[in-house]
């Protein structure tokens, strides 16, 4: 069962989240929907992310891959370099740098798609609220509908809707 509460004020939704967490509802069971980003203080509804780490790993991976490829290609067909090294990090540093950055960019984008859930197949049984402009909706997955609805209303929800899994 899902409960969807509509809120106008950010303070109200923060109050509702804090009270729900006190009663044992976890952050994973709550989602806030809005037409614009809502910023919560740390500890309210944290969403840990590994995006920075993934971006760095993507950069390193692509940089190494491309440098390895350039090394292979330059040894595979040796140009006459007049006694200079066949492969030189200085000579091909621009390519290594650009491809390292490309790795970071692509990793960030792909991880954004994954972390936001846009890339994954959406669970169509979960109801998604239509948020009126200027409002925020708090969706809670719970079996204790009565007490959760009461907390949301007491915290300032304009209305609370009960929705079963589709």
């Amino acid at each position: 069962m899902y409960l969807i509460g509509e809120f106008r004020e950010q303070e109200s939704i923060v109050r509702a989240i804090q009270r729900l967490k006190e009663t044992g509802v976890t952050a994973a069971e709550m989602d806030v929907f809005s037409n614009e980003p809502v910023e919560f203080h740390r500890g309210i509804l944290d969403r840990p992310s590994r995006m920075s780490l993934v971006a760095v790993l993507g950069a390193i991976a692509n940089g190494c891959l491309v440098t390895g490829f350039v090394y292979y290609a330059q040894h595979n067909y040796r140009l006459n370099t007049g006694g200079m090294p066949v492969f030189s990090l200085w000579g091909t540093g621009v390519i290594t740098y650009e491809m390292t950055m490309l790795g970071a960019i692509l990793a960030t984008f792909l991880w954004f798609l994954w972390e936001s859930g846009l890339l994954r197949k959406r669970d169509k049984s979960v109801p998604v609220p239509v948020v009126p402009p200027g409002s925020m909706c708090l969706r809670v997955r719970t079996e204790q509908t009565g007490s959760v609805a009461e907390i949301m209303e007491r915290s300032g929800a304009l209305g609370v809707e009960r929705k079963a899994e589709l």
Partner: protein, 439 residues
């Protein structure tokens, strides 16, 4: 301080910013058709060049780089308008950036698309451009990874990829909103591009994190792209090209011309789409100050570059210097100085003269000046080569180069017209709803 648009009801913001997407005025259609006609003319010119060879252009020994390379550097330079400026404003959390960023990011993507065409046009045998890409082939050849041409390819490819993603990411929430209210092919397009965005806090968190990371990543990429373009010149031991400051000099010039292009686009959009409430004096004033700052920096670099050459008095360098400052290219050179320094210094520096109209005038001057700057860099050096055996030569463009150059400006206009008709030119979601708004 809240700008007037931030005090508007959210419903009014949505209505104002989504309105330009529907319908097309006669002026819009005429502009689009006009631009299309010029693009077709450019296409005809290019096809003649492909059929008859590079002999139809004005390129001849010793000047083998002309309008195409000038245009390439010019468009890549303007591309710094968007992603770089937007990333700086995002990272510094400048509140006034909101109505500016998307217009700027779109400029970057279109300019890169246009600028990236020029090396291919300049190749002559354009259909063989894919030889630049390292792929296993029957002749067992690989591209030369030490060649600045390949550096350009990788740098521009990285910048295009990053810029497209950087433009696309903040458009997702707007497209989700548009998908709810649009029908037919538009509705399908918006729903597809919004990837099923629901507006959950997980999505917003991921988006904000991604935008911050992208801003951090794209800044050094943007700087590197124009530095690499500068190294196309600086790596050659040609007079007045072989300079250690060419990288930063080009980056400064690129940001300078980018801000000018952004001001011009913003002024045009403000008038054409009636966005006076969103693109206010405040935005133009801030960007005008940036333009002034970049004008001063540009002048400093130009002065430093020419002073050291003059003081060094090296014969081959002085030949180019004299051609530029007092010789055949002097009218272009001094016109460039007037356009890039005198006009913005007076119009943007004097507070009483600084307004939207003068910002537009300065921007047009700067764009002309920066195009001329690239011409002044490319042609006089090649006309006066260092090698004593190579005779000095003259370069004048033919109608082919002029038509292709005109077509790229028309392509920029057409791409922007189409973009403004398909997507909101200002990010709607970045405006927070007014707390006291009544539905």
């Amino acid at each position: 301080m809240a700008t007037p648009s931030e005090l508007l009801p959210y419903s009014k913001i949505r209505e104002d910013l989504f309105r330009p997407l529907s319908g097309a005025s006669p002026a819009y259609i005429a502009s689009a058709l006009g631009a299309l006609a010029v693009i077709i003319l450019g296409g005809v010119a290019w096809s003649i060049q492909i059929r008859d060879g590079m002999g139809v252009t004005g390129l001849q020994r010793p000047v083998f780089w002309g309008f195409y390379i000038v245009d390439f550097v010019f468009w890549i330079g303007i591309s710094h308008a968007g992603t770089l400026i937007s990333a700086i404003l995002r990272l510094t959390d400048a509140g006034w950036r909101k109505p500016v960023t998307r217009a700027a990011e779109a400029i970057t993507v279109f300019c890169l698309m246009i600028g990236g065409m020029f090396p291919i046009i300049h190749l002559g045998r354009s259909w063989l451009f894919y030889w630049l890409i390292p792929y296993p082939n029957s002749r067992l050849l690989w591209p030369n990874f030490r060649s600045p041409l390949l550096w350009d390819l990788t740098a521009i490819m990285t910048y295009v990829t990053g810029s497209v993603i950087y433009l696309y990411l903040p458009m997702i929430p707007d497209m989700a909103q548009l998908g709810q209210v649009s029908k037919g092919w538009r509705g399908m397009l918006y729903r597809t591009l919004s990837l099923g965005w629901t507006g959950s806090d997980r999505e917003w968190h991921a988006l904000e994190r991604a935008m911050k990371l992208m801003a951090c990543t794209i800044l050094p990429v943007a700087v590197s792209v124009h530095t690499v373009v500068a190294w196309d010149f600086a790596m050659a031991i040609a007079p007045m090209w072989h300079s250690t400051i060419f990288g930063p000099y080009f980056v400064v010039g690129a940001i300078f011309s980018g801000i000018a292009a952004l001001l011009l686009v913003m002024g045009t959009l403000r008038k054409a789409l009636h966005l006076e409430l969103y693109l206010t004096n405040h935005h133009f004033n801030n960007l005008s100050k940036l333009l002034l700052l970049m004008s001063l920096l540009w002048f400093y670099f130009t002065f430093a570059e020419h002073l050291t050459v003059w003081y060094g008095n090296e014969p081959s360098e002085m030949a180019v210097f004299r051609t530029r400052v007092t010789g055949a290219f002097a009218p272009y050179f001094w016109f460039m100085v007037v356009c890039n320094f005198v006009v913005p210094f007076v119009l943007m520096g004097v507070r009483r003269l600084r307004n939207i109209t003068t910002a537009m005038i300065s921007s047009v001057c700067v764009l002309m000046g920066m195009w001329l700057e690239r011409y002044i860099i490319v042609v006089p050096t090649l006309s006066n080569p260092r090698l004593p055996a190579a005779a000095a030569g003259f370069y004048g463009p033919t109608w082919i180069e002029l038509a292709i150059t005109a077509a790229t400006f028309a392509a920029m206009i057409l791409l922007y017209l189409l973009f403004a008709k398909l997507f909101p030119i200002i990010a709607v979601w970045e405006f927070k709803p007014h707390p006291a708004e009544d539905e």
